[in-house]
Symmetry: C2
Subunit: 345 residues, 2 copies
DNA sequence: TTGTATGCGTTATCAG
DNA sequence: CTGATAACGCATACAA
């Protein structure tokens, strides 16, 4: 036995070696149809398959069954540390089900998203996990996606037309605000993320709610909006806040990159964190526990978000008319050293 | 026109609409065979294809042409910040060529690598980029991979049987050693990476060469080997060095995670960096410029490594008997504040 | 329980 | 230049 199989063995090769027809071999090899085959035939086929190191040709199966066993994952940028855990969560959940993920990075370019989705459709993905949604996202209603299972992750749209998995951004911001209020802060500034993203909008809402429900005022002078989640923007926004001369003692940034930029701005203006200004971020990026000062932030269950999104997508693939569900994951406050009680004036 | 195509249009549908045979439509649609078709036929076919929003069925094409237009990428862990830029480099290079990447995380589990590669072979990947190689890596010689184009990235094997793209680890370590020597250090310790990995071995060799060629001794008491590139290991190794009571004034860690662990150890032992001990890392991970002190490290061109690996792989796919080449990329010393001249005793 | 026949959507070969 | 035909490898309805 074990003559070196120079070419990949086909189903026919297996069948011949087992002394049966290809159809029988096929039935014996597939879990679902195996009960239709006689026990010793099954044994012979399985043995032959193993001997020949048979692996079904994916393209042929896919063509025949109309199932690609592939899903698409569209993310802004894998080098943004927010996404690797999400992707990992997706892939780890998919793998045992026999699915693989086609991952594409689109940056912030909507045209690129369109191109990428076409490419995925061309490869017959059975569904898509999207991490690039904006609150208003007409792309999802364009014909190419018609009927294709889609699950939004991290960012969601305003209208809940699709299933989604996201963190409770409002709650996260409220946790942060509550923490700062507990420490005694009253003048709390917010560097908001883009309004066009559910994360930016939700966190800002949570900030406003948190302030309001505590009876603390949140005037427009304490609010500044970043154009993107970039360190540079955090720097710009913090500088602007400092320039406004509307006093405050703490900053809640809509994510860690913005917080990092804010920290740099504070530093360059000669202020210390947390003595002069407390600072809270969002995301708990790797290494923000090692900067100076270690950053107090809101941790999101990213890996779980990914696996949960994959679960919803597979559910939907298996049962097309299943319910549209919006899963909301709980964020967690991680207190480190960038926050402390405000210095009495 | 533009009746909503409820099902995906097939080549036959396009052909019918253009009033030609499917074979002709196929020729008209494919760049390579297009010259065989009459100009106005081409126009009619193209038009019909656009009207029907035709996209070739990937599985069918793949089955027929025996080309999947897919390559596999095997990495230890996408959540390790070293890999996202590499993956990005690969994908960005592949995309214009019409290829997509199937990315799989294997951890440090060789069995998992085997499983993953089988899965990839089952999907008929045309080649594989491997970032999980060890210096001795028999897996590559096992039959399943026979003849499949493979390019190693980041880590390489001792025998140059496959094309590879890596950073010049020896040079990187020598740059780091030279920097420390320039500052006046003579007793330089090294926290080495695993000997089984080309990165660990190469960096250690570079360290030894750098010391030796400067006429400085590098006794075994200044060398300690980490079992893995984990922060915890850096902590353990640094603690061990400190416990040895063989004096030194600087540490070269084989990567940034080890350096981070070493930094924690120094801190916990009441030492300051760089005043008491200078510290150099390797990789220039995100945010190591924001920790205290900002880490002096060796920067690797990760994105370029990825795109270069993709280039080599595509070359090899297009020309199976092309040369095996080992591309060595130049690392760069990034001086920050974790290094300074040694304090005179 | 097994074999036969057919088709999934393309492309390549061979006539015409 | 174009049409007919076959085949890629597999799974399934149907027949035996």
């Amino acid at each position: 036995m074990a003559e070196e199989p120079s070419e990949r063995a086909t189903l026919w090769a297996v069948a011949r070696r087992a002394g049966v027809h290809a159809a029988t071999a096929s039935r014996a090899l597939n879990e679902a149809t195996r009960p239709l085959v006689a026990p010793d035939t099954i044994a012979r086929v399985l043995r032959a398959a193993r001997d020949l190191n048979y692996h079904p040709n994916h393209a042929a199966r896919s063509l025949r069954t109309q199932r690609s066993m592939t899903i698409g994952v569209v993310i802004p940028d894998i080098t943004n540390s927010l996404f690797p855990p999400i992707v990992r969560g997706i892939e780890d959940f998919l793998a045992p089900a026999g699915y693989v993920a086609l991952v594409a990075n689109t940056g912030r370019d909507v045209d690129r998203e369109r191109v990428v989705m076409r490419e995925m459709l061309a490869r017959s993905v059975e569904g898509i996990v999207l991490a690039t949604a904006r609150r208003d996202y007409p792309l999802l209603e364009e014909p190419p996606l018609r009927g294709l299972p889609v699950v939004l992750v991290n960012r969601v749209t305003d209208d809940a037309l699709f299933s989604s998995v996201s963190t409770d951004d409002r709650l996260g911001a409220r946790l942060a605000v509550a923490h700062l209020l507990d420490l005694g802060h009253r003048r709390i500034a917010h560097i908001a993320g883009p309004d066009s993203l559910s994360t930016g909008f939700g966190r800002k809402s949570g900030y406003l709610e948190g302030m309001r429900s505590a009876g603390v005022s949140a005037p427009a002078s304490l609010l500044v909006a970043a154009d993107s989640y970039a360190e540079e923007e955090g720097y710009r926004c913090a500088s602007e806040l400092l320039g406004r001369r509307s006093p405050f003692t703490a900053i809640l940034a809509a994510n860690d990159m913005l917080a990092l930029g804010a920290l740099r701005a504070l530093d360059e203006h000669g202020f210390r964190c947390p003595e002069d200004y407390s600072l809270v971020g969002f995301n708990d990026m790797p290494l923000v526990d090692r900067i100076t000062p270690p950053l107090t932030t809101i941790r999101l269950p990213q890996y779980e978000a990914g696996s949960e999104a994959a679960r919803l997508l597979l559910d939907r693939i298996r049962q097309r008319d299943g319910p549209v569900s919006a899963v909301l994951l709980a964020p967690k406050l991680v207190v480190r050293r960038s926050t402390c009680p405000p210095t009495p004036v």
